[in-house]
Symmetry: D2
Subunit: 221 residues, 4 copies
């Protein structure tokens, strides 16, 4: 049985909830796939919205769980769709303070690390399958420069240093929940049920897709 | 027992479904309110997305059902929230053809009618109660110039000509469903359950609110 | 020689300038059109961003100047194009205080006035000519519910009470200037030269167009 | 005298002009700075909007001109501000065909190249100085995945392979011109004069700034 680690974040930016944690916690312990040879069990864990501690928490989970797939999930208030991130970049540049009060500007995440890592999830296949399942989704070319990108980069850097061992990793940004959007006039949202269904699709597609499909998912700029 | 008429539209603009009809049909026959003196029964009906026929269909429903409250509901693809419309204007100006192929430009809906009618629903109280219930909502200053505004104007004009008889009327625009947004990259959506819950709130607030509350709901421009 | 009154507003909402005043003042005293029988002189005046006083200022200008055409211009921070307004509605609903500290909510502008007035400018011809001149432009279905709509409604109500006397009136919303947008990350803008050129087009088209053209300019919602 | 190479693109995507070429050509031959020790001469050149040929054109210009600073400029239709790009990524993923008909999907730009290169321009200082000069500007976290990102990556890869030799390079995306936006309802724009003034600021700031300033310019997501 394979193990899929899903991480969500604690609330930040004065929000009472974080949809990423609400969605992944609902999937904790669930089995994906009927074929015993290909099926997997989901383990959901929460990470702090804190530079540094979020990555060390992620690394500890890699050591503890030795997952086959890791999908870190985070809130992207203002986005309309599930955003399958393409790339993590080696910089922290915070517009607001994290939950520990730190606000780094233009600092490097890993001094010896490369400028960026590409997701090793099948991002095009996930986007295609989400849309076919009726879940609004897109490939995103930037995960920003806050704690989400920080954890995404830290995850990919840790996997690269371990030689991956076959573990695939990536990041998915999700919109506000409707009850959050109700306090942010004009903000889009997706319902928790939609997010949970979408993350199940993302996990299943990853488990079933060795090489990503060639479908458009770029941006002109 | 009071009667609340909810209308939704048939699909248009190449969509296979119209969320307005999906939402109101789910409420057909439901009773709102426990107090027999104040409770009401919902009747849901579909209108064609056709200039002229949509208004004559609405007028026939007023004659048949003699409702105490009428809320016409329509799809607003691209909006993020339930939009409680403030005003209907006396013009048709169609960017696309309606379902019968007509595309009027700058024609008057009612030759002898006034330039506009204000909704007689408690639009501020509905917006407040939707947000408190966790449903993204806003007051909207324009219902556009297509069949939605057409029906809204036709409804208010018919009620005005009858001296209202106490019947209150208005219009609510709703976003795409997620499965529609999944085919329109970048488009926001609300889940059907959220829309149904929101319309129940709108009906209940209308039934319980004689005079609207004074809360901000305007736009600078 | 005909007279065209262009009004702009004083700055509001903490801005140091108001592009509407900067643009119209640049046109003060200019003559539009070579044909003496059709040409006109522009008079530019400033209005306060104050409920009530803005309308009484406008009415005083109508009495003083007896203009043939009146185009009130106002700032619409966040819009991308010159917005030719279609309709003024009989309500004040302020999201911020005006320059005198007043913040009316859902109050009627003219107690005995109709719900709305349509612009009597050739809004479709203006939009067409602006685009042909390379100026981004659109027909707008709402002028909001702040002082801009207030003045627009007050203007049209005053003209209606006077039986118009042939005077045509309307409202054009314009975006921020670039130097304002530079302080509002993400905000669109148009250069002052573009705005001035655009207002000249709007005046010339109005002078030369008796009946508006039938071109699409509506919104689905 | 130092040399600053500014490149613009030929028109693409059915546009008759490309604002990047219109803006840089206006600066060709201009001298920036009064101090002979620090001043520079601008050389402007056009690149084809073609995968592969755009990079080989850029590399030939590096060989020919041996510039001290290279700023590649490209059109970003739909953006509101001058966007100072932070990072170029090693992937082509085209939503439309380039001017030679090619439409690569998820292909690597440089097989042996790293996942990404950071701009070596002082992106924060440029953004700050543009805003102070009244030019709307932002730091952008993604240059997309079309020919603009392609050239940006190719430029930085070529400079890295040569050991830079002190040459600094980066990319700036600019909005439509107003006359383009006039054909794309809703699209923002900046005037050509504003773009030219902005590029002069970007060049001057680069010449005068050894180490970038620490100012916020990140995104939450």
């Amino acid at each position: 049985m394979r193990t899929v680690l899903l991480t969500g974040f604690e609330p930040f930016d004065k929000e009472p909830v974080n949809p990423s944690w609400e969605a992944v916690r609902a999937l904790d312990g669930q089995r994906i796939g009927d074929d015993p040879a290909r099926s997997a069990i989901i383990v959901a864990r929460q990470l702090p919205c804190v530079f540094g501690a979020a990555i060390s928490g992620m690394v500890a989970l890699l050591d503890e769980l030795k997952p086959d797939v890791v999908i870190a999930v985070g809130q992207a208030g203002g986005r309309t769709e599930m955003s399958i991130e393409r790339i993590a970049i080696n910089v922290d540049d915070a517009r607001i303070a994290d939950n520990a009060g730190a606000q780094p500007i233009d600092t490097t995440i890993a001094t010896e690390g490369p400028a960026a890592y590409f997701s090793t999830l099948p991002i095009k296949a996930i986007t295609r399958d989400l849309r076919e399942a009726g879940v609004p989704a897109m490939v995103s070319q930037t995960a920003g420069t806050f704690v989400c990108n920080h954890v995404f980069y830290g995850l990919m850097h840790a996997l690269a240093q371990r030689g991956h061992g076959g573990t695939r990793g990536g990041f998915i940004h999700i919109p506000y929940l409707p009850e959050q959007a109700a306090r942010h006039p004009g903000a889009p949202s997706l319902a928790l049920d939609t997010l949970i269904a979408g993350l199940r699709v993302a996990v299943a597609t990853t488990l079933n897709t060795a090489a990503d499909v060639r479908e458009q998912g770029g941006q002109l700029h």
